[in-house]
Symmetry: C2
Subunit: 244 residues, 2 copies
């Protein structure tokens, strides 16, 4: 899969592309890079000149406060396009890194601007993509601020599964989610110990299985209910049927 095709795939999850749009995207220049867990791509304070698209693996974005605790803002699955915002925000105020071995496409801003100028539809959809990211941040804010640990975790799993299904990397409510329990803790704003306890609880009640970087949802309806999950905030164009 080329870089352009990957971007096109993402954009078609949240809107419609004409053949001309797809054609324009196929000319997108950029490099492929392979990363190991822990590699940093765009670092706090930097002024990046390129955007990123995930081809395989999993990235995450986080800030670290001086006191130590890391807050993960988001995880990025294949076809996700993190940090498109660097197009219009010069200075990174957070860090993007690989949380698992990953392959990414690195697209110079100049290339993005060229294609967006050529095809206004693409500009609209890339903008839309950044707005959906913001919408997800809002949902995470609500989740981490207002929900109990088990609901919170259920909500997280529902989101990741929904996105994995949309991206076409899930089968039978099973998908790879190559993160550790400690990563999960840093995303949910919980302590690693309590993440473990909550996870065991969800496991023994046969709602979710999360082991060795693989997520399986055993009882979607019940999980979605305790998570109070409504996928509207993901603004996926054809919503994958989750309730089935």
């Amino acid at each position: 899969m080329t870089i352009g095709e990957t971007v096109a795939k993402r954009l078609e999850l949240i809107g419609e592309l004409s053949p001309e749009d797809r054609q324009a995207l196929s000319t997108l220049g950029g490099d492929i890079r392979d990363l190991r867990r822990g590699d940093e791509i765009l670092v706090y304070g930097q002024r990046p000149k390129e955007s990123i698209v995930v081809i395989s693996g999993c990235l995450h974005r986080y800030t670290i406060s001086p006191q130590g605790p890391r807050q993960i803002h988001s995880f990025y699955l294949p076809t996700d396009t993190p940090c498109m915002e660097t197009l219009h925000i010069d200075k990174m105020d957070n860090t993007l890194g690989a949380i698992a071995p990953s392959r990414i496409g690195v697209i110079p801003h100049s290339e993005m601007f060229r294609v967006m100028e050529e095809r206004p539809t693409i500009l609209g959809l890339v903008w839309r993509d950044t707005l959906i990211q913001a919408s997800i941040f809002r949902e995470w804010l609500m989740r981490n601020s207002r929900m109990l640990a088990h609901s919170q975790m259920a909500h997280f799993f529902c989101e990741m599964m929904t996105r994995a299904i949309a991206a076409g990397i899930a089968r039978d409510f099973t998908c790879e989610l190559p993160i550790t329990q400690e990563d999960l803790a840093d995303a949910l704003g919980m302590s690693p110990v309590y993440v473990n306890r909550t996870l065991m609880m969800l496991r023994t009640t046969h709602l979710v299985e999360f082991r060795g970087g693989v997520l399986t949802i055993n009882d979607w309806p019940r999980l979605a209910e305790i998570a109070d999950f409504d996928p509207a905030y993901l603004h996926l164009h054809p919503l994958p049927e989750g309730g089935a």
Copy 2:
């Protein structure tokens, strides 16, 4: 102050406008509306055809989960432009309302698109504005997930003061912040009771005074320290000197 001037003022806080840009903005069409506390402007599920700019007062954006708790995502002070994102996200997944008597400008999307097409700089800055909103959401996520109550509240006050100074509505570290303790609780993800206790603590230690909708920061350096406040995430163009 006209609608166009207000938008121009906001954009100049985060970038530079040429005389031509300002001229183009001055032609922005739109209506003025006056609101009372509790009035809703853009509601969950709606498909708005206009964007908003705050002329006076204070707006807030929130979601209400079926279980009841309200999460406030952001407050908007004069010159802020909430919900520019409706330009590219059709369906509201949250609600924008007035939290105090306010005057707003209502700008049809068609007007925004017209001006942005005419002046690419404006497009870039409006986009940038939406990205800064996202950056603020990330910071709120970190704050609500990772900080202790008093640091959290200190951080909130630092942000609002910084923004008020930038918007030119603060004097001597005093500004209007016409929200109740309960509103504050819904923003910080705390209970109203604990907000009150925390507030009293900050008050008796002479760090902050927040009473009757007026915020006064008595000891900025110490407050910023316990808040671990770094205004970088606001991406203000000429950063107001807060540390003074």
